[in-house]
């Protein structure tokens, strides 16, 4: 493990830009290309958005800790936050043909997060500690 960085944010969508800046800065220091950087940034944005909306229900007294580090050829981001367990890896991606045919709305954050990263892991430690790990091979 090398170059470990961490930020803590209040659980509010107004802090998404801070999160993106943190990840972007890290990606730039690794000279990652624009598309790869944006895929990592968007997956962390989507993960935080889901936590803010669904786990913390916009309660900005809650905190999300975001840690990023590089190990071997993997860019790893770990989000730690309190709340009820919800494992995004268990959620099935929508059938996009049906999605478009029925003009559905919403539910695209997790698919985007999954498509942007190589691996996602979720763990829940009782009573209420969650850890979401996003991994991108670079």
């Amino acid at each position: 493990m090398e170059e470990n960085d961490k930020i803590l944010i209040k659980s509010s969508t107004s802090n998404l830009s801070l999160v993106r800046g943190f990840i972007e800065h890290k990606a730039k220091s690794l000279n990652l290309d624009l598309l790869t950087t944006n895929q990592i940034v968007i997956s962390v944005d989507e993960a935080c958005t889901n936590i803010i909306k669904h786990t913390h229900k916009f309660n900005d007294n809650q905190i999300i800790e975001i840690e990023s580090f590089l190990t071997d050829n993997k860019f790893i981001i770990i989000l730690k936050y309190k709340g009820e367990a919800f494992d995004p890896t268990k959620k099935q991606n929508p059938d996009m043909n049906e999605y478009f045919a029925k003009y559905k709305v919403g539910g695209l954050g997790i698919p985007l997060m999954k498509k942007s990263m190589d691996k996602i892991e979720f763990t829940h430690t009782k009573p209420d500690l969650n850890s979401l790990t996003l991994i991108k091979v670079i």
Binding site: T13, S14, L16, S17, R20, L34, L35, N38, Q39, V41, I42, D45, E46, T49, I52, K53, M96, N97, F100, Y103, K104, V105, G106, L108, G109, P111, L112, K115, S116
Partner: protein, 113 residues
């Protein structure tokens, strides 16, 4: 704080929204308001220019999904233009080019109506 700005203009019968900055879960409500305002004015032919947009997340994609059917049901459409590779990549990852017409230039998008 990263900003999100929408400018609106009308060319012939088409409303053009120029997006600038960062479109995410925090700012997507602004785009919803812009679409609601267009509906109130019975503008159903819409071009969205992404030339100055730096970032989009699923919250932004959701706004286009929320209004495309209404626009089409009223003989209109939402046509998209001016995307950087980075923005197009997000639309493309989920297959949006199947549903939305996406072209390079604003004039081209307008001429599609």
């Amino acid at each position: 704080m990263e900003e999100f700005i929408i400018s609106e203009k009308k060319i012939n019968n088409v409303a053009v929204l120029l997006l600038e900055g960062y479109l995410d879960a925090h700012t997507s409500g602004e785009l919803e308001k812009a679409f609601e305002s267009l509906l109130t004015k019975e503008n159903h032919k819409i071009v969205v220019n992404f030339e100055k947009l730096s970032y989009i997340s699923s919250a932004g994609l959701g706004v286009f999904m929320a209004y495309i059917e209404t626009m089409r049901n009223n003989s209109g459409d939402i046509k998209l233009c001016g995307m950087s590779d980075k923005i197009y990549n997000i639309f493309d990852m989920l297959g949006f080019p199947v549903l939305f017409e996406i072209v390079k230039l604003e004039e081209e998008a307008i001429s599609k109506f």
